[in-house]
């Protein structure tokens, strides 16, 4: 029999036998607490055929994967890792909406075998829904190592659900898990899991509510799992009450819960939570026996050092320094290699071929500078993004990410951020683009957005060539101090803006911190590569398309209208001329400066290149090369790749050294200094550098923001507030400096 590939499944259509299973995919919701190995389990079950998208309307990642098993197609949906199904957090709402949507046939509940009590609390909530639940008792090897003895049969009896020991990293127990999952999906309709008895008080209220509601609103009762709905109504769950149009003071609810409220007070939500924990504790007492004295765990020993009152902070900063250096030093040679290969041999050969084929000059230019340049531009970001995703995944998987948040929370909280915001902000000093992607380690939408808005104030590597050029031209004596002052200015303004945003754009209580510090674990290479690859691919495909389009647009701006020879007459030049008055009060009201700034929107380092072009400083490099053959180009490019690899490895070991500033200075800019000396003064040069630091982020950052948040809203806010801030700051610097007699 051939499996149907359609993934649409009508809500209540539960297959009746294995035969009908072959016709429709079995939808398996994979749910569990964070850090229990959910993703690893899905990867192990379904291989790498992951599809990553977003849950509708939100930025929370939705992963699905599918596999064939005994002629059935099984689709796994990875739900966000949550501790509960309360109506308060976005992740929890997503998880529960999917679970009660009728889509899933079975729930696989991944449980950390070393941490049963809190995990079973969540299992109980899943059981309330009424869909068959299979408990995957994951990390069973760790539990064994700790000499935990878990009576899985007792657990299964008490929960009324299958309990399968698994070790996802070793693929242990997965066959049984799949088997039981399919068997549960094939169970005839109407055979509901037994459910856990919540005690006569609650059960009586559940019973009364379901009968009363069924009588009064049969339509609504048909839409939700009955027991689940009754429990939510008892709890007074705001989301559910609203969805079914019921007031908390509804007589049906009040009369069904009267005996509960009389005995336990009005807080039904806590009563039910308390009860679930009571049941969970009871179950664990029955099913788990632990060695009397636990030896001191590895996690405890590591934390004694890395969270130490005195060593904790230094260790943290050293670790961050290494990760930062590793991310950008490993990726830099590859970025340069891609850049070189694309702008050199690839462009050359394409131009050669097109010219040979008799294509008009503008087509050659569009293909070489626009199209190939655009592709190269997208590719140039990938090494840093891959490297950063790798380290972020490592930090998350190892458990240190939570510690980093723990250590930095106090400082970050002061400007309205979460401890987890620190790492994305730090990455911003390398490149703002991966930094924006790193905000996904933040759980809360508000924290994410605020962090993303402040990241561009961290002076990224692309701004450095601009500073280097100007400090070399105007501040030879105090170059270091001037350079430092710019980084400090960015941080200072980030703190200031953070405090302002906290009181305006992000008013309201700051989100909770309450966070698990998971045990340290060594992430598997497999999960590291899968995660890194997924994120990198995502960037290439989704962001790549936008970036490519924008580079083409810029090509037109630079080369249009038709037949333009002088840069001054291109659309870009015209825009620059139109904007001189805007920049005049800042001390650099020339069309050249304005046009360079506009082109800096592509990437801030381009400011330097455009200045060289606009001021007519000739780039000697490309002139003397003849037309090397394809073979020599290939050889050269291949050779450089190995050089890049060697450099990357070399950089790892030379992690302590800082790249000398002189190396940043490109030959093209050397000829610029005398020209700049004529149009800028030291004061206006400093104002210009401050402007470059602060004005709107480059468009790749904006695209990254769009991609992470699914809306242009934050990108738009970033453009507006930063450009305003840049203008204001440069104005204060220039006019203020003149007032106190600087030039």
């Amino acid at each position: 029999m051939k499996a149907k590939t359609s993934s649409s499944l009508s809500p209540w259509d539960i297959p009746e036998s294995f035969q009908s299973l072959a016709l429709k995919p079995v939808v398996v919701a994979v749910a569990g607490n964070p850090n229990v190995g959910k993703s690893t389990l899905i990867n192990a079950l379904a291989g790498v055929r992951l599809q990553v998208g977003n849950w509708p309307g939100v930025t929370v990642e939705k992963k699905t994967a599918s596999c064939q098993y005994r002629g059935s197609r099984v689709v796994f949906v990875d739900l966000p890792g949550v501790y509960s199904l309360s109506p308060y957090s976005q992740e929890e709402i997503i998880a529960r909406d999917f679970l009660i949507s009728g889509e899933p046939d079975v729930i696989i509940n991944v449980v950390d075998a070393t941490n049963l009590e809190r995990n079973i609390y969540f299992t109980l909530q899943l059981l309330e829904i009424g869909i068959p639940v299979i408990v995957a008792l994951n990390m069973f090897d760790e539990a064994r190592e700790k000499q935990f003895r878990i009576d899985t049969e007792a657990m299964a009896t008490m929960l009324g659900a299958d309990v399968i020991p698994t070790v996802a990293t070793q693929r242990e127990g997965l066959d049984t898990l799949l088997e039981k999952t399919l068997a549960a999906a094939a169970a005839p309709v109407g055979v509901k899991p037994a459910g856990v008895n919540y005690g006569s008080d609650i059960e009586e209220a559940v019973h009364r509510l379901s009968t009363d509601l069924l009588e009064r609103e049969p339509g609504i009762m048909g839409k939700y799992p009955r027991r689940w709905l009754a429990i939510k109504v008892i709890e007074g769950d705001a989301g559910v009450l609203k969805a079914i149009g019921m007031a908390p003071e509804d007589p049906v609810r009040l009369s069904a819960t009267r005996h509960l409220r009389e005995a336990h007070g009005e807080d039904m939500e806590s009563l039910v939570a308390d009860l679930r924990y009571g049941l969970s504790s009871g179950l664990v007492r029955e099913a788990l026996s632990k060695p009397v004295r636990n030896k001191i765990e590895l996690t405890e020993r590591i934390d004694a050092v890395v969270l130490n009152r005195y060593f904790g902070l230094p260790f943290f900063f050293i670790a961050m320094w290494f990760i930062f250096k590793l991310t950008f030093d490993i990726s830099a040679p590859f970025t340069d290699w891609i850049d070189g290969a694309v702008s050199g041999p690839l462009t050359r050969q394409a131009a050669f071929l097109l010219t040979g084929a008799g294509a008009p000059a503008w087509t050659v230019s569009l293909a070489a500078e626009g199209v190939i340049g655009g592709v190269g531009f997208v590719l140039a970001f990938t090494p840093a993004i891959f490297a950063m995703m790798f380290f972020i995944t490592f930090l998350e998987g190892s458990g240190y990410m939570a510690r980093a948040a723990f250590i930095m929370d106090r400082a970050m909280h002061a400007i309205g951020l979460h401890g987890r915001s620190f790492i994305p902000m730090l990455m911003g000093f390398g490149c703002n683009v991966p930094a924006i992607y790193a905000t996904r380690t933040l759980e809360n939408e508000r924290d994410k957005a605020l962090t993303a808005l402040l990241i561009p104030l961290m002076s990224c590597g692309a701004r450095l060539p601009v500073y280097v050029l100007f400090t070399a031209a105007f501040f030879t004596a105090s170059a270091g101090t001037v350079l430092w002052s710019l980084y400090v200015l960015g941080i200072f303004l980030a703190v200031l803006v953070g405090m302002i945003f906290k009181k305006t754009l992000f008013r309201g209580a700051s989100p909770l911190f309450i966070m698990e510090l998971p045990p340290y674990r060594l992430p598997t290479l497999r999960s590291l590569t899968i995660h890194t690859w997924e994120k990198g691919k995502h960037f290439l495909i989704k962001a790549g398309t936008y970036i490519f389009a924008v580079t083409i647009i810029f090509w037109f701006l630079l080369n249009m209208p038709w037949g333009v020879v002088e840069k001054r007459d291109s659309y870009l030049g015209q825009a620059g001329q139109a904007m001189t008055t805007v920049f005049a009060p800042l001390g650099f009201g020339t069309w050249e400066a304005a046009a360079s700034l506009i082109s800096g929107v592509i990437a801030k380092e381009i400011v330097v290149g455009s200045m060289a072009q606009i001021y007519g400083v000739k780039d000697e490099k490309n002139k003397e090369e003849g037309n090397p053959s394809l073979v020599s180009d290939l050889k050269e490019t291949g050779g450089y790749f190995f050089v890049a690899c060697r450099q990357a490895v070399g950089n790892v070991f030379a992690t302590i050294g800082v790249a000398s500033l002189a190396a940043e200075e490109k030959e093209e800019s050397a000829g610029l200094k005398p020209v700049l000396a004529k149009t800028f003064t030291p004061l206006s040069a400093y104002a210009f550098m401050a402007f470059v630091l602060l004005y709107m982020p480059c468009f790749v950052v904006l695209i990254a923001m769009r991609q992470e948040f699914g809306t242009w809203k934050w990108a738009g806010i970033a453009v507006l507030y930063q450009t305003g801030l840049a203008w204001g700051t440069a104005f204060v610097i220039y006019q203020g400096g003149r007032l106190i007699g600087l030039t």
């Binding site: 509960s84 009590e117 809190r118 939500e269 924990y277 939570a402 911190f513 510090l517 998971p518």
Partner: protein
């Protein structure tokens, strides 16, 4: 007294979660329910947040959040 008052190494028993709304639910979801023993492990190097053990795992929370949890000292 509240959870934030415990010294490192001390264990308390949760008497009452006096927070309301989402904070209360979140604390209870994480296992901070009346009767549960909660051990103070340490404060972060900058003094806040704090790390506790509850239900056999490690949880960190800000002092402001811990102050909403009434405890009595057990040991």
């Amino acid at each position: 007294m509240n959870l934030a008052d415990l010294n490192p190494g001390q264990t308390g028993r949760v008497l009452k979660v006096s927070a309301v709304g989402p904070l209360k639910r979140r604390l209870m979801d994480m296992g901070i329910v009346p009767g549960a023993p909660a051990g103070m492990l340490k404060a972060a190097p900058l003094g806040d947040p704090i790390e506790i053990t509850i239900k056999n795992y490690r949880l960190s929370l800000r002092r402001g959040e811990a102050e909403k949890i009434e405890v009595e000292i057990v040991s």
